[in-house]
Symmetry: C2
Subunit: 415 residues, 2 copies
């Protein structure tokens, strides 16, 4: 029998206890060991919980108990998660965590400590909730040189975009609905501003390319500026607007990555991913395109991924799995503006025709004008040809200085 | 350094050698060992191959060489693959195979031998080509009770159906094109008749539910009878016809499975899987729906899955992974006709109106009539309500005896 501890008894933590109890027998059969929850660390009390008797408030009880072989971290946030996980590893306990912020900020350091102590630090649940992605990327696609990953990594924003696209629901109203349904926090900024997706693409980039990428190195843009007009124009070129996290390996060995609302063509597998679902597209030299799709959040999906990691830790006590990446570096991440893209631009001008002619002068003859129903006079939308963002943004400034006020612009994805 | 042997130097076997060579350094880094191809077993000679010097014709050289720790089986077919793989395991060598027929027919026996000898028998490439599915099902979803799997498991038939749906290309012509493009064999029966998909769903069912299911236990129906008229009627109810392999766990512990052309609603993730791509939908009690998408065949995708297994074998020498299932049994698989479904029925009669009234009498008032452009007089198509196939087929016989000749019928999927 293996004793484990759960740190944090919130949504995911209580889900972990629920899955371990509900599927106890098949889990025991599959990993050849009985798994017993000995401690649950939380500052709150849970008098009505069946696990009430295991709830403790003192972390040291876990740290000092050699009976505990595996610790589940579901506290979230960076502190005290970081300190606790570090101390668990230093005291010889493998760790399974769902904490994306922790792995995105401290993954390289913690993986090194795990390696030095021949322990496992697993985090399948940190990206894509219950969707298997970390292990497949590390093992199943190991024979590939993965060179690009693009994904819908945040269910809340995808739900909001789906409502805007399918039901022409304005952003604010869709956000409110997401909050009512419990998909979005009262403070939705981490989702809406793209921070959550940023942490996830950083973890995927670190794992796929072998060196740590920090959230501070990832250009991140949220969806709060997206309007129904943008959605309508995007549809006109056969696209939908999605919050996409992308990373790419460059020929010189550096990586480039970003999180931003992006117009994705309907023909792309990511375009059909709706509501709170997530999907991750992985490109490898041998495999070509692979897509992983499922619920990116939610109590039980996330918990099932954590428990799968716990089972893996139990099967690999005193024998590390190879999940690992090297320390990061400032010059490892290239300027995202070197990325080639085309832009959807929406502008207003007293004379749309003249403004379009001006746009042709500045962006080139190959720009394509878009129209929508009931288009107000003076509104203009077009898609530019492909170029690096540096060049496109220069032209954008020139264009604005020429008297056209740009209302918004969105990258058009060439996936 | 680890020495391996490759049995069978056809498409997949040569792909394995190519991937191991092309990505040699990163593979060595990832599994902490240099992997060297010592032998290639094939009856043919390959004088122009860079591996010409390793080609042997005598299996015993591999069997008797204790230097060989891992053997790759890409011979295909049941014999001599079965005998060779068995002898490899009995002589202490782990095996990675892409051979679905071998695993579907002999998996339980070979897995037992691997277990008894503390060796690994891995077969990620046997289902979904390069798509990670075996390992995720075994590990990532291990905390779930998986209760249903449905998939587009054969790229050739999916290519044909896509041509029929997108371009109204008749079956025979689409098949011919698939052969010209190298997607279909000169004898296409294994693909077109569903045998290939049958083997794959058997492997998935065996792994997900823990006991061996044999191809002979799986009701299998091919796509050769599907017409453009069927495609047109299916579109009218918002569906597309796909060759779907499905398996389900029943409350009484038995399983039911089948491979058959099925009308899938456009809203289902499987409906948007086109051309030679495969997709596998897995349903678990905690995770909900997860979909794995990618190239189900092809030299390099399949080879990359085989090589990933080789790397896993190398990382786990003398330490089994838990991939395993129990022996099968005749009474373990329930009659597929107990499965509830609704049916699309196409019939002809001198008087379509009367035939529809008759259909209502026999199938019930809730049947829905379908129409298509330029529908010839006397043609009738409708969708029945949901019931077990046993009941529906009885009604079908009664209907035919009432003077309506049924041209075709296709199950409508409730995924």
């Amino acid at each position: 029998m293996i004793n484990i501890a759960i740190m944090g008894f919130g949504t995911v933590g209580s889900g972990v206890a629920e899955v371990l109890t509900k599927n106890h027998d098949s889990i025991a059969r599959k990993c050849g060991e009985d798994i017993r929850i000995k401690y649950i660390l939380d500052l709150r009390d849970f008098p009505d919980s069946p696990f009430a008797d295991r709830v403790i408030k003192d972390f040291e009880l876990i740290e000092k108990d050699d009976d505990i072989k595996v610790v589940v971290e579901c506290l979230g946030g960076l502190h005290p998660s970081y300190e606790f996980v570090k101390r668990c590893l230093l005291s010889g306990k493998s760790v399974s965590t769902s904490n994306k912020e922790l792995i995105a900020e401290k993954g390289d350091e913690l993986l090194q400590i795990a390696k030095d102590n021949n322990l496992n630090l697993l985090f399948e649940a940190s990206v894509g909730g219950g969707i298997p992605i970390i292990r497949p990327l590390d093992q199943c696609l190991a024979a590939n040189e993965v060179y690009e990953i693009a994904g819908i990594l945040n269910g809340t924003t995808n739900f909001i975009m789906t409502k805007m696209i399918r039901e022409q629901m304005p952003f604010e109203q869709a956000l409110k609905l997401a909050q009512e349904l419990g998909y979005a926090e009262r403070d939705p900024s981490a989702d809406v501003d793209g921070d959550d997706a940023c942490r996830k693409i950083c973890i995927l980039a670190s794992l796929a390319f072998g060196r740590h990428v920090f959230p501070s190195q990832c250009y991140t843009e949220g969806i709060s500026k997206i309007t129904l007009e943008d959605v309508e124009y995007a549809a006109q070129i056969g696209g939908v607007i999605k919050l996409i996290g992308r990373c790419k390996k460059l020929p010189d060995g550096r990586v480039t990555l970003m999180v931003a609302p992006t117009i994705v063509m309907r023909s792309c597998q990511l375009a059909n991913v709706e509501d709170v679902f997530n999907a991750i597209l992985v490109r490898g030299d041998a495999i070509g395109d692979v897509v992983f799709y499922g619920r990116g959040a939610g109590k039980l999906p996330t918990a099932s991924a954590v428990v799968a990691d716990v089972m893996d830790c139990v099967k690999h006590l005193n024998r590390r799995k190879y999940l690992f990446w090297e320390k990061g570096a400032p010059d490892y991440v290239a300027d995202y503006r070197e990325w080639e893209t085309s832009l959807y631009v929406r502008a207003s001008s007293f004379d749309a025709e003249a403004a379009f002619e001006k746009a042709k002068e500045i962006f080139g003859e190959d720009i394509r004008r878009l129209h929508r129903e009931a288009e107000p006079a003076g509104e203009l939308a077009f898609v530019t040809g492909k170029d690096t963002e540096i060049v496109l943004m220069q032209r954008m400034r020139i264009y604005e200085n020429s008297g056209c006020s740009v209302i918004g612009c969105i990258r058009v994805c060439d996936l």
